[in-house]
Symmetry: none
Amino acid sequence: MIENPKYASVREAASAERAAFTQRVILDAAEQVFARYGQQGARVRQIADAAGVNVATLYNYYKNKNALYEAVLDQGLQPIIEALKEYPFNNNGEASYKEIISFIMEHLHERPHVSRLIYLEAISDGEYLKKIASKWFRPLLEEIVTKLDSGTNNTDWETSSYPFISALFIHLSFGHFALAPLLKEVFGSDPTSNEGIENQRKLIEHLVSQMFPTLNLDSN
Amino acid sequence: MIENPKYASVREAASAERAAFTQRVILDAAEQVFARYGQQGARVRQIADAAGVNVATLYNYYKNKNALYEAVLDQGLQPIIEALKEYPFNNNGEASYKEIISFIMEHLHERPHVSRLIYLEAISDGEYLKKIASKWFRPLLEEIVTKLDSGTNNTDWETSSYPFISALFIHLSFGHFALAPLLKEVFGSDPTSNEGIENQRKLIEHLVSQMFPTLNLDSN
Amino acid sequence: MIENPKYASVREAASAERAAFTQRVILDAAEQVFARYGQQGARVRQIADAAGVNVATLYNYYKNKNALYEAVLDQGLQPIIEALKEYPFNNNGEASYKEIISFIMEHLHERPHVSRLIYLEAISDGEYLKKIASKWFRPLLEEIVTKLDSGTNNTDWETSSYPFISALFIHLSFGHFALAPLLKEVFGSDPTSNEGIENQRKLIEHLVSQMFPTLNLDSN
Amino acid sequence: MIENPKYASVREAASAERAAFTQRVILDAAEQVFARYGQQGARVRQIADAAGVNVATLYNYYKNKNALYEAVLDQGLQPIIEALKEYPFNNNGEASYKEIISFIMEHLHERPHVSRLIYLEAISDGEYLKKIASKWFRPLLEEIVTKLDSGTNNTDWETSSYPFISALFIHLSFGHFALAPLLKEVFGSDPTSNEGIENQRKLIEHLVSQMFPTLNLDSN
DNA sequence: TATGAATGAGCCTTCATTCAT
DNA sequence: AATGAATGAAGGCTCATTCAT
């Protein structure tokens, strides 16, 4: 029997919504597990359990474990990429380097697995590392470097030092979240607490202001 | 057949030597594989292949994969611990903070998997993380903090900031090696090359000298 | 909503027609897939795809895969059984053995999967083999044997040879279609083409006329 | 410790022998199961059970189920190919067509799964059918045709009929074994018994002698 | 009736581990 | 000590089937 298209579309919409929800749940669970055990170490069973669905359901949405991992990287990292793109880094100089730092720290805080996913991929020298580097880190760092260049009189550091400064920034932001369990164990306080993040933000600010005193004076 | 005890002991000595060699080869291979794929992601077959021995041989030396992993952590990290213990951090103030930096960077360079093992444990919040933190990082950082305290007039930073400074140091030293594949991909040059290490060492020195100007003046 | 019974019945009729159509489509698809991969090797998903319906729809018509297979055997073979029953084998001697041969070959041609289904059941010694043998082949062969007996003076062959002659007939008719892919590959021409079937028909005729010369003279 | 090479080789030989035995057992079991359920319908678990080994052991010898199937076809069919090659079909005309028939029937009897494997592959139009046709059936049939040509005065049949005669021969020999379960069910007696085979042999002989009367007179 | 979503069971394969030599 | 062979358990994935709409 041909249904009333209107009702059919309503039903289909509900079904699609449900599917989208399930897919999101699976993706979140996968992100969590992959971010802890890596691509090889993660178990699909564990992901399914974390998502609260049957293992077979995973395969209604993703071809295989590898495709799921790719989706985690793509869609897990995407929000931060998008956010960074929209950020007015060099629109008119209004966004200070301090705001940039806050912005990034805030986003990494909201997506606690991103840093760890990237670090795991880096440590295992995974096949997606090239993509992460080219589509992600290089644009991000270029923005930062441009900001530094435009905001200082360029006498503080030589251009050749920028890579090291960029790496320093990566360590202090991404590393802060990736290494959180160890830091908590060593120092006793949770680095991902609001206080911990705030302190780390201040440290980065302080370092930048020390390294680029002219930047400091200029823009803030 | 009754053997000549003398010859037997000779043979036994040779045998023991051979066994020690095999065990070392296995441990090195295991360290390499675990440092890349983590405890769960590593495959014993891959370790055996990397060691050039039969898989069954592993089990002549280690009860199981888990015991092998523990041995990797214990014995893989041990040399650096030992080295640090022997180092005259605060014997008579002769060892400058620069020397300490060089010393640690050099050791991490020689054991390229140590940083990654630790990072993997930290990211996965592994069961050995407590041990690593308490037996390893805390003593190391205490030495450093003591050094800072004794070497400066203590006006540069408040004591409460020491954890963050310690963490900063971890990121810049251990993180430099753990993240090497990503950094290489992003910046194009190998961070683990002599030049890359030298530059990183200088960066750390520079930061320390900026953060602790009195330390800088005092000891070097 | 209270419906007008008249319209309801119209709708029900249309619905029933539609359902009958769907069921036929599913059955045809199932026959095709089962005839190729057997009971165990066939995949319900493949059947649903071939039928152009959702997998779940299969289960509106058949309890499970096994019931579908039984239906394929029952209803797939039924038309030929029915046709043979209606055929005036020994009504009044009007149907010559040549006509019988043509008749069977024609029916096997129209239902290309029947031969293969039977062969697969035979090869796998399936649980429906008994049924096929008793309800299908034995009646068919008895008709043929009766025909031979009544049409000849019975001097050509001993009665004990009839099984072998019957088997010969099976091989040359059913086997011709079941083995078609191999024969095509070996000889280059399609045995299921009109020409191929015609030639095979002639071969059977020739053999029969050779084996039963008196039959040959009598009835044609 | 380096062993005495002599003893080592002895041990290795024993090990290799054991492995060869296991591989043979697996292959035989696989042949049996594949010959019944086909490539898709066969279950590796069933094969392992039939071989009396653990499922994982299969994978010490064959990459996967498909490779095992290929090995079954290759090595399962090979003995008959070899046997046929060595047979003096046209050495000096000493081997009569009756001997050829006996020879083939005997070999098919000894390897009861060969006929069924071929039939299943034919029915499913499998990917190895081409190979079977070209490397196996065509040579075999060419030998037979050559035999027929050389042994008769060639007046009995036209050359264009040879394919049909060849196919007839396939049906009566291979089909006799492949279809054995059905024939047994229909006729009550086992076609693969010595008596059944003997009778089938005679039937083939009879048909040949009828179809090629001059051949009959000449060579026997 | 038809279907997209979901699932438990089962399949193929690999894993970590043990055995026998 | 070392290894090829063997295995139980677990892994990833697919299957047949059911649910909910």
